[in-house]
Symmetry: C2
Subunit: 278 residues, 2 copies
Amino acid sequence: MTTPEREVPSEPVVDPTRDRAVYLQIADWLHDRIDNGAFGPGDALPSESKLMRQFGTARTTVRRALGALAHEGLVWSQRGRGVFVRDREPNDAVVRNPYERLRRHHRESGRSSLLVDAQSQGVEVVQELLALVEEPATSLVAHNLGLEEGQTVLARRRRMWFGEQPNQLDESYLPLEIAQGPLRDERPGEGGTHARIEELGHRLTRFTEEFSLRMPTPDEVHMLRLGDGVPVVDLLQVAYAVAADGNRAGREGERPVECFIAVLAGDKHRLEYRIDAE
Amino acid sequence: MTTPEREVPSEPVVDPTRDRAVYLQIADWLHDRIDNGAFGPGDALPSESKLMRQFGTARTTVRRALGALAHEGLVWSQRGRGVFVRDREPNDAVVRNPYERLRRHHRESGRSSLLVDAQSQGVEVVQELLALVEEPATSLVAHNLGLEEGQTVLARRRRMWFGEQPNQLDESYLPLEIAQGPLRDERPGEGGTHARIEELGHRLTRFTEEFSLRMPTPDEVHMLRLGDGVPVVDLLQVAYAVAADGNRAGREGERPVECFIAVLAGDKHRLEYRIDAE
DNA sequence: CAGTGGTCTAGACCACGAT
DNA sequence: TCGTGGTCTAGACCACTGA
């Protein structure tokens, strides 16, 4: 999108005297061929031995070029088959739309927030419970729930599957006063955790979401089956509520009732927000 | 965050017979030492030659281990000095808060949306104009502005600097009927593009934001001075407006007036949203 | 100057896929 | 069986940093 002035010879040649490393020149050449559509999504790149011959370099050099493209998320490789151009327009990406998904009528209609996003796109969602334990709050969780570090909270850890793909690792933390009844069950049930919280006499008022980006840890690569060069989103969501008994309409007495932390697979999500201009 | 059961010997040993590659075992060992705090942010890792001796492997193998950590964004290296643990809690990250920044009172107080985010955090923002030209709309731009592909739009491309760091590449596209007067100037002026749009008789009603993640292209790495293992956010924002002359309060006649595309440096931003529960 | 990381070579053995 | 990519070795030359 920025500086497309780079000269790209269509003949595969490299110049060892340039200040750009040879393996990067090879990577640039392949990169541009992919951008130009000479190699389209799903196509195989030339094999390593072919590239060695074409560029007259050692195999290591060719492999570093291919590695650079892989780390960029442009290609993926399979032993015994070849290196292939990745499809960068993931049709199977889930559109996460918090503005819609966190609204009351969805909870009341029995759909949890994730299901709102996924079902509207015809994706089946399955939760895999990894842990449901009481444990001391980390400083991050304590801070967001207004507790002291080390106070006991109920932690629920899950891996969410969207169809055949694990797409989200999440952790829900509830203060013990909130974590009553069905909130301690293995499955939060229709409408999700938020619906159960409201049934227990809390009226949800608002949510804050904050997120940041990073590359996954090796564990996350494994758990989310991430390809090379796929980043993740660190999502931190805090839900706030007031007591529902009094019939005040305002937000006096508002307090955090859930701290929700998730790691989203970057290639399987698209996030949408709607903001009013006033 | 998921499966911390892995056994980590504190003595640096690798087992070539395991199914996990030696370089990954070395990477795991270093990774855990970093997580445990044995190597803190800014600390130097053992040098390559030291790791070669400790693990009894070739230099290439050690370098691949370090490369894996670098691609994860955990460490960075400097020739002649060493490999250092990166500070993962970027104090200099700008908190982008669209919910606040797109509100009218900020425009009326003469602050553009980016400045709202940055100035509240004491960061100086400088825009570097890369291009200001009329050009045919891409299919993406045309689709979001309700135009036909190829119709002429006014494109403004910039690189934004937050302090000493380039942190955002952006492109603003305006239909020609909107792109009048000061909107064609090099600098949009106080309150930014949105303020100018409203002064021209359009009342902004809402914005949609959508974003997705990916690894940067080599160009973006250069333009944003990105370190290894730093992802970017693709942001697509569309502003909608109605004519301000009639005194209808509703949104009849609402139309898109600006398509804004940005690439944000992933390690220099944190995004925050606030969502009401109703 | 010694030590560091960056690049490149020329080979080896292996696991896997297609045939 | 052959071609593919995945790992590893042992060495070389270079550019840069810091004392």
